[in-house]
C-alpha cells in the first residue's frame, strides 16, 4: 500500500436490480483499469457492466483472463461457457452452496418423501394454475405433466402456425433440429442461465432437484419450468413462425423482452422461497451448541448467497 486512497471493496448488487444476460462471442475478456472489457482482434474495447448483469454467456471464440474471472465473482455475475448457439458446456464464476443453512434446508426437503411431494405439488400448482389431483405419487404427477406439456407445445404450434413434430433434445447434433426446436433450445438455455444465477445468489444448490433429479442442474430445470411456458415457449414459437434467418439471435433479443415483461428477475428468488416453503418445514435456525464465525459477516446489499 502506498498510502493512496483506495476504492471500497466490490460487492454484488441484488439480482432483481440487474439486467438479464449478455453474450460474448469473440475476443479476449479482460480487466482494464478495473473495468470488465472485451477486446477484439482489432484492439477495439467494449466495456461490459458486469456488476449490472445476472450472467454472461461466453461463446466459442472467447478467452477469459484470470483477472476477469476474479472480477465477475466479486460482483456476483455468473459466467457461463456455452457452445455454439447456447448449448451449454460448462459454468463457473459463482460457486454454489454459499449458505449452508439454505443448502441443508433444501436437502432436507428433497430427502423426505412427504416434503418432496409437497414441493412438487406446489410446483405443479404454480405451473398449471390449479391444484394437482390428490393422492398421486411424484411419478404419476410427472406423467400428467408430460401429457400437459406435450399438449401445450401443440397448442402454441397451432396458435402460431408452426409445423411441430415433437420436442427434440439432441444437443449433440444442433443443426439437425428443426427451427422451432432450435428456437426453443436457444431460449431455454437463456432461461436456465438466469435461473441458475438466481438459485446460486439465493444460496441454494442447482443440483438438488425435486421433479428433476440426477443432473448438475436439476433444481435449475425445476425452477425454470415454473416460468418457461409464460415466457420463453410462446416467444420461441412466435419467432419460429417467422422463419428467421438467424433464429438464435432473434430468440436472444426476444428473451430480454420476455424476461422484462414477466418481471422474471424480480420474481425468481421469491418464487424459489415460496416453492420450498410449501414443504412445510421450518427454516432451520442455528444449532444451540454452534459458535458464531470468528469474523462476522458484513452486511451487504446483494442476495443471501452472494459472497460479499
Amino acid at each position: 500500500m502506498n498510502g493512496e486512497p483506495i476504492l471500497p471493496p466490490l460487492k454484488p448488487i441484488p439480482i432483481k436490480d440487474r439486467i438479464s444476460v449478455a453474450y460474448v462471442e469473440k475476443g479476449n475478456v479482460d480487466v482494464l483499469d478495473g473495468a470488465f472489457v472485451v477486446v477484439d482482434k482489432n484492439g477495439i474495447r467494449t466495456h461490459i457492466p458486469v456488476g449490472s448483469l445476472v450472467c454472461i454467456m461466453l461463446e466459442p471464440g472467447t478467452r477469459v483472463s484470470h483477472a476477469a474471472v476474479v472480477l465477475a465473482s466479486r460482483v456476483g455475475c455468473l459466467l457461463i461457457w456455452v457452445g455454439q448457439s447456447g448449448v451449454r458446456l460448462y459454468s463457473a464464476g459463482q460457486p454454489g452452496g454459499a449458505r449452508a443453512d439454505r443448502l441443508l434446508y433444501q436437502a432436507k426437503l428433497a430427502l423426505d418423501d412427504e416434503t418432496r411431494l409437497k414441493v412438487v405439488r406446489k410446483m405443479y400448482e404454480m405451473r398449471f394454475k390449479e391444484k394437482p389431483p390428490e393422492r398421486r405419487s411424484i411419478e404419476q404427477l410427472r406423467g400428467i405433466e408430460a401429457v400437459r406439456v406435450r399438449k401445450m407445445y401443440e397448442l402454441f404450434a397451432r396458435q402460431y402456425g408452426v409445423k411441430w413434430i415433437h420436442r427434440n433434445y439432441d444437443y449433440t447434433e444442433w443443426e439437425s433440429g428443426d427451427v422451432p426446436n432450435r428456437c426453443l433450445s436457444s431460449a431455454t438455455a437463456c432461461l436456465y442461465g438466469v435461473t441458475e444465477a438466481a438459485i446460486l445468489a439465493a444460496g441454494y444448490a442447482p443440483a438438488v432437484g425435486f421433479i428433476h433429479t440426477g443432473k448438475p442442474q436439476s433444481f435449475v430445470y425445476d425452477i425454470a419450468d415454473l416460468f418457461k411456458f409464460e415466457t420463453v415457449v410462446p416467444m420461441a414459437f412466435r419467432i419460429a413462425s417467422k422463419n428467421p434467418k438467424e433464429p438464435e439471435r432473434e430468440v436472444r433479443l426476444a428473451c430480454r423482452d420476455a424476461f422484462r415483461q414477466s418481471r422474471l428477475l424480480r420474481r425468481i428468488i421469491p418464487t424459489i422461497e415460496q416453492v420450498l416453503s410449501a414443504g412445510g418445514l421450518p427454516f432451520p435456525g442455528r444449532p444451540d451448541e454452534s459458535i458464531a464465525p470468528a469474523i462476522p459477516n458484513k452486511e451487504v446489499i446483494g442476495d443471501a448467497g452472494h459472497r460479499g
Binding site: 483506495i6 476504492l7 471500497p8 448488487i13 483499469d33 478495473g34 470488465f36 457492466p49 460482483v75 446489499i301
Partner: protein, 102 residues
Amino acid sequence: MLVIVVENAPPRLRGRLAIWLLEVRAGVYVGNVTRRVREMIWDTVIKGIEDGNAVMAWNTNTESGFDFVTCGANRREPVEIDGLKLVSFLPEISQDGEADSL
C-alpha cells in the same frame, strides 16, 4: 435513470464505474439503478475521486423530477433557491485572487 459525470478522475475510479454503468462519453456514465445501489456507487465516487470532481443526477419525486449531488471543486456550484436546486457558475479566479471580468 442515473447519470454521473466525472472530471479529472483517476483511471481506477473510471474503470470501477464501468462495472455498473455505461460510459457513453469520456467521463459520462449512464445507468438505471435502485436507491441503495446509487448510494453505494456515490460512496465509491467520493472515496475514489481524489483531486477530480463529479456530479450525479437521477430522476426522483421532486418538482423538477430529478435531484443531483456533487463532490470536488468545480466552477459550477449547486445553490438552493426557495427549495429549488439550481447551479451557479462561478467566475474564474485569476492569479492575484481577483475575479475575472468575463
